[in-house]
Amino acid sequence: MKNRLRVLRAERNWSQADLAERLEVSRQSVNAIETGKYDPSLPLAFKLARLFETTIEAIFSDENG
């Protein structure tokens, strides 16, 4: 699944470690999600959306959509 996490992080000047700390997950998790290798669960996707004050659809996009 494609995502805009790298851009959203850059806008806030956050490192992967910063984002991981805010999400209360490991840096490996953030990296795996950001590179599109791991799709987060709905609760984690909602947490991301809340953190970036946006919607899940604004962060993630279905590659077929």
Binding site: V25, Q28, T35
Partner: protein
């Protein structure tokens, strides 16, 4: 397990260490009693099972870790590694069983199955981690 900075993983390592100490203690105890007193009947059964109890405890500790791990990605990684461990262990022991029957390879004691499982978990963990890098 995967990330020592989180509380669930630290607790897991602690619990694992306790079960390992208990395993060594129970094994030594069972050996000493068997060598010196040669027990029979229910006591022999009890002593024979004693070293296996901490091993069973380790499986419970793993279950507890998976229940406590809040990082879903790490939990997913660990579950995958354990599934690979189970699959590889079942495959190897099944093949070995037939080899014992038909090709007269040395007998594999059943208590080898457990460390074999962790051996395969150990191999698959870094391979799975590499997949997500």
């Amino acid at each position: 397990m995967n990330c020592m900075n989180n509380p669930a993983a630290r607790r897991f390592m602690w619990h694992l260490a306790i079960t390992m100490v208990l395993y060594v203690a129970f094994l030594v105890l069972a050996l000493v009693i068997f060598i010196h007193y040669r027990p029979t009947g229910p006591l022999a059964w009890l002593l024979a099972v004693l070293p296996a109890l901490p091993v069973i405890g380790q499986l419970a500790v793993c279950g507890l870790y998976l229940a406590e791990e809040k990082d879903e990605f790490l939990r997913n990684l660990q579950i995958q590694a354990m599934l690979w461990g189970i699959g590889a262990t079942l495959a190897v022991t099944t093949v070995w069983g037939f080899l014992e029957n038909f090709a007269q390879v040395p007998h594999l004691y059943l208590y080898v199955v457990y460390p074999l499982f962790w051996f395969f978990v150990g191999i698959s963990t870094p391979l799975l981690k590499a997949r997500y890098k």
